[in-house]
Symmetry: C5
């Protein structure tokens, strides 16, 4: 009888490891490939939450965690803490999957937990990843620069939603690519310290792009943005931020701990 149990545990462990390995592989794909749907869901903890006693809060947090685990094979879920650095929200999730409806389903489940019901969803940004638009036409030197490996892990996250004006979209490809080259030149000095990712949102949200950054050096990021404000492409940013999100990259456990104290 006991041997059977041991066997069962071994099998389960093996299955779990295989699953995790598979999930890891998927994570790599979901974060790198084009055609992936991303949802940034931003939340503020409501007053109701703090009226629950500590035990109820701890249980609620465990329930929320189990929702994310349930969906972990189908999608990546990254978590970020805004509280203290933004008046608008307390934390946000960045979800990647192959179908927007998957993003919706996990969020519906999460928002249906006791913790989720105490949250106010203050902002949601939807986007899709796509193949690089302008890089193929850039000079070889710049292409090489762009291969600089980004910093491996960083404490800070920044998200800047962007909307372009009508003149931008109406510009023919070549002058637009020239402006984007000037824009890209301004970023080269920061490739080593600022990691970035781009999402396309036209038609999926009241935005054209979600720009996402990770860095350990906020002074570099401040200089990078000043550099981008100085190039002509900036004239076509009808919206830049509003809200800009500045937070710290924290595990789900760390974030939930803040709200279960």
């Amino acid at each position: 009888m006991r041997q059977r149990s041991i066997l069962a545990v071994m099998v389960l462990t093996f299955m779990l490891c295989a699953q995790i390995a598979g999930a890891e592989a998927d994570r790599e794909k979901l974060l790198k490939e084009p055609g992936i749907y991303a949802t940034f869901a931003v939340f503020k903890v409501g007053d109701e939450w703090w009226k629950l006693d500590r035990d109820a809060r701890t249980k609620a947090v465990a329930e929320a965690k189990s929702v994310f685990q349930k969906y972990s094979e189908q999608m990546t879920i990254d978590t970020y803490l805004l509280r203290g650095l933004s008046e608008k929200a307390d934390f946000f999730l960045r979800i990647h999957s192959k179908e927007m409806s998957h993003n919706q389903n996990v969020l519906i489940d999460f928002m249906g937990t006791t913790f989720g019901k105490a949250l106010k969803n203050t902002d949601t940004f939807n986007g899709i990843t796509k193949a690089l638009n302008y890089v193929p036409s850039f000079p070889e030197e710049l292409k090489t620069e762009l291969k600089t490996p980004p910093p491996p892990s960083s404490p800070y996250v920044l998200v800047v939603p962007i909307r372009k004006d009508a003149e931008w979209w109406m510009m023919p490809h070549d002058p637009r690519a020239a402006l984007m080259k000037e824009h890209t030149d301004a970023t080269v000095a920061y490739l080593k310290t600022v990691k970035r990712k781009l999402y396309h949102s036209s038609g999926l949200d009241d935005l054209d792009f979600i720009t996402y950054f990770e860095t350990a050096k906020l002074d570099d990021f401040n200089n990078l943005v000043i550099g981008l404000l100085k190039v002509k492409e900036n004239r076509h940013n009808k919206r830049f931020g509003d809200p800009l999100l500045l937070g710290t990259i924290r595990s789900l456990d760390e974030i939930l701990e803040v709200f279960s104290r």
Copy 2:
């Protein structure tokens, strides 16, 4: 005695089928004809709702459903789930009928149910369907393209309210039709994967148009909108979205299930 009962059931069943068939015919008409009034009523579930126990929620949901059934012969009511993909709302109704006051009446009844009282009506868009404005003057080839049958059924819905600037309205018909031809040309590639419907709102709401889309391919929709941003008519969009609604097409039962869990 028993035979009478059977007869009664048969008669009732027949009447019900006839009624449904009639309703179906009406649905076809209401969704196709000009001169139909549409109301998009967008709702967010309030905190009060989650304080009800599960039983009360289940009963409330049944009550809400019976309101819609009561009005089903007079109008079409389509239902969409936004929760998870929009911070602004949880779901919306699209109602078509021959009189705006019918739309008002069903919504008043719905908002007077226990479920309705727990909702916050976050947005309402009113419009009217009209005969095609510019298509009659388009070249035959484009007219033929526009007969491409739309995709039969799709998981995603998108609603984009639009307001034009004064210059648009002041433009003579011919240059305006030329801009609309350029706009329409940009949509041809997506006729197979994106279904669309147009409502006119000037004077009925703080809008000029409600544009409604169904699709299974959000990547196509993203490209379609980028195409539309690139045509000159886009210069005259004073408002495009704000809010753009992205959701999934779900039956009333599916939506109510999310909120009765």
Copy 3:
């Protein structure tokens, strides 16, 4: 003893009839004359209301009604239902009297009732009626057209607050009157189906005009507004609606019934 009572009732009835007749005459005057102050008070029923039991709601509704009756000789109070067709509010009152302070007093009394305390006053527009500004200089033919009797009674109401730009106000009278003639020409086709009234608000509110309409044909109203969007005067509308109010004309009893169910 009994005869005395009968006499008393007769006298009271007579006085009441006389009073009503007087009130009616006043109503005519208040709705037609220049120099009358109007307040549009827009309300949304708060969550607190629905927590009252049905009896308390019925009593509260009677109390609210008696406030309006108390002031009925001094002013006209018209009532409109927005619920279902506007996310912003549930109903509004249009009050006319000879002094703005009368409008304030009745509203203070109304807002002090149990029903009033459960309301959120979402918008208030103040204005004054004035003699026609541009019509005297219009050609005789147009003046004759403008005498077309408006539709006698209509189910729908529309209110469009308007603010003009600085260029409008700085324009000399003659070119301004020419623009207003073009504007008025665009309305002639709809005089039979759309009734209208104008209030001046500069300095009394964050508006320049409140435009008020009644109609049975919302399709005509949609076309009328499109006609007005196409004339040059439209270039000078800094604000047109925001909010545009679309509702149905309902008696106080009908409106209160919706909220006492």
Copy 4:
């Protein structure tokens, strides 16, 4: 023993009278002199207030009154009722003193009373009075006109916050004074019926000016504002109102009575 009491009462009465006389003199000074700090504090009564029973409300109102009395020597506090004529607020205070911190202190005390805690502070405008800027350069005739005594007491108050554009501030003094002369000319006809006062707010608030008016004739005020909209200086008003406050001048007792019913 009894005589002593009488003496004490006499002394107290005398002191009180002397104090009131002093206060009156101060009131004159505070309302006329330059270098006085003014705070307009606008409040809306919250739902919590109406949940108190009548007794608690009456006591709370007395407490609020005693705060104002405590500060009455140091400052003037004028009170105005907005309820019914503005959706944004119920009443406002206009405070004048020699130091902005005095204005803050009385408001902190007031907001700390039971009544104050039930209020929502919806708007606050801060300003300073200054010597006349443009009048010294006006022609003698206009200077004489400007000495027209204002109406002695009026039922209505109007407050219009104003923000000028960059071009206004960059204009040299002479052309700016010419525009202000044109502006002032447009006001001459209304000096008899409209009393006015100006506060400077640049750097003290998100405003450049607070313009304050008292009148018995709102029709005159409407015409006065239309006159001001027609002069070229109006092109430089980036903000005019938003919110414009229209209310009635009421004693503290009258206002508190409305909220203690």
Copy 5:
């Protein structure tokens, strides 16, 4: 036994003094050096707070104080009272430290106290201090002027968030420095009465600069801002204030006392 206690107290006192001295030194550095991260966290006290009894409020205030003490070595925390002079908030904290995450940590701890949970975080501005940008190129005379010592201690604080337009950023350094010289010239007359500090926010917030001022003379500050509105650089301020914060500099104890009464 008693001697040991005395010794322990002496040691503790010594350690505390050393610590305070160290902290003081750090304060000097954190307030003067470039590369320091600042967070302005603005709060409004919520209705929930006033429902606590006085004892609970006193305890909560002590708890909040201890959080600040815990972090006092790592950062400076300055406190300001807005209540009464701003409808938007009641008080704000200005935090300086060497890492933005330290600012976040103290704020998370503070917001997790009983007092913190009753607060609404209405605004947060993040910035970084940097070496002077334009001063090195200014003429010697102006450089000397700029060495005027600021007023040593002042009762009033003013914070003005600023966002520049695209043209500003695109301007080459020399004409931009010329505009900044003109701007700086306008401030010279006020160096003796207005103390100022500048934070850079591009990319760290929806701002470009946080400008911070202390003064005893609000009339001077009003004139200073009017002077700045008149220089050409003002044309490039897309946002100036909104909100401008005007408050008084008060110790943590004074602020907490206002809310523990």
